[in-house]
Amino acid sequence: MQSSSTAHLKIISEPSHTLLQCSGMWTLPYLSTVTYQLETLHPKSLLIWDVSNISELDSAGIALWHLYHRAFEKEGITSELIGINENHSKLYSLLYSGKNEIFSPPTRPSWLYSLGEGAHKNLTGITQFIAFLGEAFVLLFYTLLHPSKIRYRSIVAHIFTTGASALPIIAISAFLIGVVIAYQSIVQLQKFGADIFIVDTIGISLTRELAPLITAIVVAGRSGSAFTAQIGAMKMTQEIDAMKTMGFDPFTFLVWPRVIALMIVMPLLIFFADIIGIFGGMVIAQAQSNLSFTEFIHRLQGALALKHYMIGIIKGPFFAFLIAMVSTYRGMQVSSNTESIGYYTTKSVVNAIFLVIACDALFSILLTELNL
């Protein structure tokens, strides 16, 4: 007798049939060797399973028997079962009570179908976003006609969280960008002995392009994602539905306060980033080519025309509008399942950064054509 702490299968080939002597514990942890034996078995046309020596049987053991019983039957081999005990047969009838229909998995659509579906989804996404903007503006005009409905308190709160609390991270990013630009340009300029032009490079590139862009990217990652997550969480807990039933419009209560707050804050943040970025450049100019702070500032007054600075600041509200609108729109799209909040937050940040860069490119083309 073999030890009973594992599953055993003894294959005996008789002239008229194949006898399978099953013994031991046909339970989940012990079935892999038996599975291998059955997989490689080529039985005669009559198969007899002797299960009288099975000491313990669970659903996995029964499933294994059923699986191969069915497979052999398909090959035209008849099976017989001998020595089954009452408990095991009860368990079998509980597990296979005749309702076991076979259901094939849903077929995957072809790649062409998926491509088309994706494109269609993107197109409808754009129309939905435009519809969202339209609805938002209808409510904006309505609120402007009834100024008492403007949520000043909410706007101020958002100015604090998106503006004042963002200063440290913006300071660090802008400073580092100033350092990087100064370092890269100074090496090139020194070759021509034109060190002094570092002031022009830093002044114009930072105020006109880099400070607005870096600020917008930091804000999109920091506040945009927060907007989507906040509104998404409210959508999931049905808070937005509750607001609607009470007649509190989500656009006036949630969307516009965020958009307006961000539009007020963004130019201020860009101005802050300008100063810190130029300071970063000054530090490097002094370290690398002994250009003193006073000299730098004196030169800056001549080199940096007001228009460059103004263009950078004016971009602020545009970027802010795009970031806040996209992130609140994505927040509203969150559905009741837990995965969607992460999905839409990611989407919101990606979309916001893309739109900011596209808008910046548009500004460049437009302003060049206008000779500004």
């Binding site: 339970t27 989940l28 942890p29 079935l31 892999s32 599975t35 997989e39 669970d58 659903s59 996995a60 029964i62 499933a63 294994l64 059923h66 699986l67 009860k90 368990l91 509980l94 597990l95 296979y96 009570s97 309702k99 076991n100 229909e101 076979i102 259901f103 998995p105 849903p106 559905s335 009741s336 399942n337 837990t338 995965e339």
Partner: protein, 251 residues
């Protein structure tokens, strides 16, 4: 005497200054359906969480399937976890996996069965809990409340546990589904020889399918035993919980 599956002795639990359990005792025997009852905040869910190693307690001893939970080593705990199944109140199906994958995951991680056999077993478990076969390709977000409970039960039963914990199995189900669920639990107990511990509020479940229970209140176990035994006890909380004398269960 029947085999003891879970034994709690003098459990004390507190969160900060709030005492949840003040020397709680209870015993669960093999092959019975045991319930932890009590009002909201009576600490029954906390006790269940302590039994399944999700929460620790300040003092006392808790034995589950022969393991002492205060002195258990991480490896023993891993063994113990394979011997039970847990059905959470909200199902707690992994939302990124389909129902079939939720069940199959346990086989893939803990056994070396062939993919064909895993497939067969998943189909079998789905049948067992009364879900239609096409449900295995659906994601948790596409299921109704009752289907989520059934799918979660199928997952809890995947490794053929000897001990099953259910946290409010019938909450959120309509009365008919609740009774079907009770019947299913009883059938599983009879045929698979399971021991079942549940937290419930459902008076019908208590009346129909529970063998023994512990009633928690005032930070202690007020009563433990069969319904008929407990109803003899004269205690305001027993009267309140079973709505004695009004439209509740008649003794």
């Amino acid at each position: 005497m029947k085999h003891v599956i879970i034994e709690a002795r003098d459990i004390v639990t507190s969160f900060g200054d709030t005492i949840i359990h003040d020397h709680v005792n209870c015993t669960v025997y093999e092959n019975e359906i045991y319930a932890l009852l009590g009002g909201s905040g009576s600490g029954k869910s906390t006790l269940l969480r302590e039994m399944i190693l999700l929460q620790s307690f300040q003092s006392g001893t808790l034995n589950v399937l022969g393991y002492n939970l205060t002195t258990i080593t991480p490896l023993q705990a891993q063994d113990l976890r394979r011997q039970w199944g847990v059905l959470f109140q909200s199902g707690a199906l992994y939302s990124s996996l389909s129902v079939g994958e939720n069940i199959a995951m346990l086989y893939r991680e803990y056994t070396d069965l062939s993919p064909k056999l895993i497939d067969e077993l998943v189909a079998l478990k789905i049948d067992l809990v009364g879900l239609p076969q096409h449900a295995r390709y659906l994601f948790p977000s596409e299921l109704s409340g009752g289907m989520i409970k059934r799918a979660a039960l199928a997952r809890a039963l995947a490794l053929d546990p000897k001990l099953l914990f259910l946290d409010e199995p019938t909450s959120g189900l309509d009365p008919l589904s609740s009774r079907q669920f009770d019947a299913l639990i009883q059938q599983l107990r009879d045929l698979l020889g399971l021991t079942i511990v549940m937290v419930t509020h459902d008076l019908d479940t208590i009346h129909n399918s529970i063998d023994r229970f512990a009633l928690l209140g005032d930070k202690k176990v007020i009563a433990e035993g069969r319904l008929s035994e407990v109803l003899q006890i004269d205690h305001p909380l027993v009267d309140y919980f079973f709505q004695k004398g009004s439209y509740g269960i008649k003794g």
